[in-house]
């Protein structure tokens, strides 16, 4: 019965099958094989990534819950905890953008309320192919509508995020969704099953045949046949989840539960196994008792279904009626499908007959762990060289001229950068998301990190998700460090002290040594940066096999950082507040063009080495930002990232009442050709830089604080007028009306959809 074809369909290797037979002491039946296949899939077992993930820092006095549970948790004072995690839904979103993205949102929300926390904010980090490429708009529209459809309905605001367009994601978009909730620290509930004889309840949507083998699908590459996998994508029902959310939080208030877990990837299989395993117990269920949406479902199908909006919970003895009553109130039916045992086995019955019996240990602890071979990819030698002189060569200038790009015209260059969908305003996207429901959002999307106040306290939480696949493609270790630094810096710009991080690691096929090398290097970089900036990783997710037809995405670790703002009313945003304010640059530009958006937009190049990062300087900068915000010395703060200083200053002018700015930047001698030199000063993406504005009277104090913190700081100009003027090396090189610049920026994405909206 179990031949090589069956194994292949289950994504199991022959040696893995041998291992299964050894553990079982016999051949598994098909149901058991299915259970092994999902639990040992890359998605559930982390078999390729585990050895590397173990090196990440996960501890600190602020950490209440590290990796291993449904989500991480940190102490935010007043007896409260912030519970948060990021997760990917890349593969389903490519196959069916709306439902793939929607169920990604649903899944991460369940992870948060499963911990006993009320979800209060969502973020997302998205990657698509070039916006003018065929298919991208359809995927973008579907993904955005899916996120909106689910998040808006359930009533959790999407308060921020990031979107990058890059050809490497054309056949494999990334949809990473972050959710944060608040719980009383003492009320955090875990996904454990314990207490022999305790009832195991199933609650939520009925089980159908949707999503069977979703976890296995997420552990394989794409090819032209992938569209046929559509039945493996689940369909979301945000209303059902809203009921589950309210009912579960109500049940948790009663202290009647031993543990609870959502059914996400690998559905009933994963939840029964993991709950039993964590509790050092076994779980026995009868699949005939599982509420079913379709007739004639086999135990195999029921165990592997990934139907959405389902929870598994274990009630304390004698409290069953109470639990059932609360679910009844919400028109949900908690069904007892089994009980906790002492034998450490996952036992599945069908009308009393045992159809599968596997030690939990075999499915979890004993899952294969691979130390896969790694080699530095060959492409790196080629792409890391960046000859700045070559950028100004007559041949290249002719090439650019043919595309209508004048590298000596910095007005033009800035407008082109602002109109790049990666830099341009994401308003078209975020206005489809309800970002204000729950009336906590005090920094709206597009204005910097997402910030939500915590009702009943003076505090607020800031959060940001960041990643730069281009940097990581050029240097995965440094690129990952830069991602951590940027996420933490964005949080610090709002005035919040970064507390902890969550990561979503999106990579190609780990069985290829070059990809595995990228992965290992990125994890190394994350670890180093998280240690230096004191933001331990409290959980996250790994998404491998992001390849289509053998082409891997840029390695893309996405980092979510959460920070605490002691006084919500001292939150700082990106926008200039008033004319006549001083503009100060914290940090130093080094004219680094490697991997920059400028190189890509102007020269169509992805080359060079990403900007250097001094972690100690970064830490000092972030501490300074938090201190300045705490003393109300900054009126605005905006990180310099894509597009460098010029784009950052421009963005500070946007969404104001048209406040202009005049700044001058030192043009460092980075190239012999002055045209490249100026571009490097304006658009280079040197790290650890922030543009702040302040009332003139506060400038001295700010510079003193910066000097004491050993953060380079310099007044570079002032706000005012209705033009954006930038001088470099004493020469006025950018002079644009704010209106014109803002038009280019605000329509960067919208203009691709105009025809269809009319």
């Amino acid at each position: 019965m179990i031949d090589p074809q069956v194994l292949e369909r289950h994504g199991l290797k022959p040696d893995e099958y041998e291992r299964i037979v050894q553990f079982m002491g016999r051949e598994p039946n098909l149901t058991e094989l299915g259970i092994f296949s999902v639990m040992w899939s890359e998605h559930c077992s982390y078999k390729s990534s585990r050895v590397h993930l173990k090196t990440l820092p996960t501890e600190g006095p602020q950490v209440l819950q590290g990796p291993g549970e449904n989500a991480g948790a940190v102490d935010i004072g007043d007896g409260l905890a912030a519970v948060f995690k990021i997760e990917s839904h890349n593969h389903p979103s490519f196959i069916e953008p709306y439902q793939g993205a929607a169920t990604g949102v649903g899944g991460i929300i369940r992870d948060i309320f499963t911990m006993g926390a009320r979800p209060i904010a969502l973020l997302n980090s998205l990657r698509f192919g070039a916006l003018d490429a065929p298919g991208t708009r359809r995927i973008l529209e579907g993904v955005v509508a899916g996120i909106a459809g689910y998040g808006n309905s359930i009533g959790i605001p999407t308060v921020g995020g990031e979107i990058v367009f890059e050809p490497s994601y054309a056949g494999n978009p990334l949809v990473n969704v972050f959710c944060l909730g608040i719980a009383r620290a003492s009320d955090i509930i875990k996904g454990v099953a314990s207490g022999v004889g305790n009832s195991v309840y199933y609650v939520g949507a009925k089980t159908g045949r949707d999503g069977i083998h979703g976890a296995t699908m997420a552990s394989a590459e794409f090819d032209e046949k992938s569209a046929e996998k559509r039945p493996a994508v689940q369909v979301g029902d945000p209303f059902m989840e809203k009921l589950l959310l309210e009912a579960c939080l109500e049940v948790m208030q009663t202290d009647a539960l031993v543990g609870i877990q959502d059914m996400g990837a690998a559905g009933l299989t994963c939840s029964t196994t993991e709950m039993g395993s964590r509790g050092g117990a076994g779980v026995e269920i009868d699949v005939a008792l599982v509420p079913q949406r379709e007739t004639g479902m086999t135990p195999y199908e029921i165990m592997l279904s990934e139907s959405q909006e389902r929870m598994l919970l274990v009630a304390k003895p004698g409290r069953e009626a109470e639990v059932e009553r609360i679910f009844e109130k919400w028109d949900l039916h908690a069904v007892r499908i089994g009980h906790v045992t002492s034998d450490g086995l996952l036992r599945v019955k069908e009308r009393g007959t045992t159809v599968a019996e596997i030690p939990n240990r075999a499915l979890t602890d004993e899952a294969p762990v691979y130390r896969r071979p790694m080699t530095e990819p060959e492409y790196l030698r080629e792409v890391r060289t960046l000859d700045l002189d070559d950028l100004a060569s007559p041949e290249r200038l002719a090439l650019l001229g043919a595309r209508g790009f004048q590298p000596s015209d910095q007005n033009h260059a800035l407008l082109a950068l602002l109109a790049s969908p990666t830099i341009g305003s994401k308003r078209w996207v975020y206005r489809q998301y309800d970002h204000m429901v729950r009336t906590n959002t005090i920094n709206l999307p597009g204005f910097g990190a997402g910030v939500v106040r915590i009702k009943g306290t003076d505090r607020a939480l800031a959060m940001s998700v960041d990643g730069n696949g281009r940097y990581c493609y050029l240097d995965p270790c440094r690129g990952a460090m830069l991602a951590v630094a940027e996420a933490a810096r964005n949080v610090a710009c709002s005035g919040a002290r970064p507390l902890a991080a969550t990561n979503c690691l999106n990579f190609g096929n780990p069985e290829r040594p070059a990809i595995m090398w990228q992965f290992a290097k990125a994890v190394e970089g994350i670890g180093a940066a998280c240690r230096a900036l004191d933001v331990p990783i409290t959980g996250g997710n790994v998404s491998l096999y992001n390849e289509t037809d053998g082409n891997a995405i840029f390695p893309t670790p996405t980092i979510g950082v959460v920070g605490l703002l002691e006084h919500a009313d001292r939150v700082v945003g990106r926008r200039f507040q008033e004319s006549g304010d001083a503009i100060i640059l914290l940090g130093e530009g080094r004219g680094e063009l490697g991997g920059s958006e400028y190189l890509k937009v102007a020269h169509e190049l992805v080359r060079g080495v990403p900007p250097a990062l001094d972690l100690e300087a970064e830490r000092a900068l972030q501490a300074l930002l938090v201190a300045l915000a705490g003393e109300r010395l900054m009126r605005s703060a905006h990180d310099c990232s894509d597009g460098g200083l010029a784009a950052a200053v421009a963005e500070c002018c946007f969404d104001t009442i048209g406040i202009g700015a005049e700044v001058s930047v030192a043009a460092e001698q980075v190239a012999r050709d002055p045209r490249v030199n100026t571009a490097a000063a304006l658009f280079g993406e040197s790290a650890s830089r922030v543009v702040i504005s302040a009332v003139p009277e506060d400038v001295t104090r700010i510079l003193e604080r910066a000097a004491a913190a050993r953060v380079p700081a310099r007044v570079v100009g002032q706000t005012g007028g209705n033009r954006l003027r930038v001088a470099a090396g004493g020469e006025m090189v950018i002079d644009l009306s704010v209106d014109e610049a803002e038009r280019a920026w605000s329509t960067a994405i919208e203009r691709y959809f105009v025809k269809r909206v009319a």
Partner: protein, 240 residues
């Protein structure tokens, strides 16, 4: 003053309305579960925003069958002030407590952003503290806010001065660009003929604290509180 906030399964702005009434304005507030009939002595009812019953059919189409709606109707008929916000407005339309219907937004997409609305009428319990022509900056968040009424009905609504709020620009001028959803006559808020039942698409509860970036929504709540000091504006209501 006691606010009663109706909670349907799928309501998601119920806590926001509660917070505004209780914490921001310091009033009594009670949640009213949709399966109950008891209004718990509420002086004013709010049907909050959200996606009642998931809104998989037409928005508000299922909610009107909830047991509490009979009590809401009786309360309205006695002249009690009822405010429907967003999904609450849609439910009032489906229940026939307000005239007309909602269509999908003209751009077919959900829109969440600050908009400007001009106060058209001040003889309702929810706008009495504002002045005619005052422009309020209040957020919206909806996918089906494109108000529609057939010509005869629209004419009657206008003749009876039932349009309470209209979408305008910041200066109070009506133009297409300022109408976020394509509503006929730029209608953002509406009252019944008896003027005690008001529906509005913008969310005043999202604009009651400086921290949230605006306080123009306070005008709606202040009107309610002011109404409490004045004997019932209209003794007997009649359905539209």
């Amino acid at each position: 003053m006691r606010f009663g906030i109706v909670v349907f399964p799928g309501s998601n702005c119920d806590e926001d309305a509660f917070h505004a009434a209780k914490t921001v304005f310091g009033q009594d507030a009670e949640y009213l579960w949709h399966k109950d009939a008891d209004l718990k002595g509420a002086d004013v009812l709010i049907l909050p925003g959200g996606f009642a019953h998931g809104d998989y059919l037409r928005t508000g189409a299922m909610a009107r069958f909830s047991p509490i709606m009979a009590s809401v109707r009786a309360f309205a008929e006695r002249g009690g002030p009822v405010l429907g916000i967003c999904n609450g407005f849609q439910i009032l339309l489906e229940s026939g407590l307000l005239p007309g219907a909602m269509l999908r937004n003209k751009g077919l997409k959900y829109r969440c952003e600050h908009v400007h609305v001009r106060v058209e009428q001040t003889d309702t319990p929810f706008t009495s503290a504002a002045s005619v022509g005052r422009v309020l900056r209040i957020p919206i968040g909806h996918g089906e806010g494109n108000y529609f009424a057939p010509p005869d009905m629209l004419q009657a609504i206008e003749a009876n001065r039932q349009v309470v709020l209209r979408y305008t620009d910041a200066q109070g001028r009506i133009d297409e660009a300022s109408n976020p959803n394509g509503s006929v006559n730029a209608i953002a808020g509406l009252c019944n003929a008896a003027r005690n039942v008001v529906g509005m698409m913008p969310h005043p509860e999202r604009a009651c604290e400086p921290l949230l970036g605006g306080v123009d929504g306070c005008a709606i709540f202040e009107s309610i509180l002011r109404g409490a000091e004045i004997p019932a504006l209209h003794a007997v209501g009649r359905s539209v």
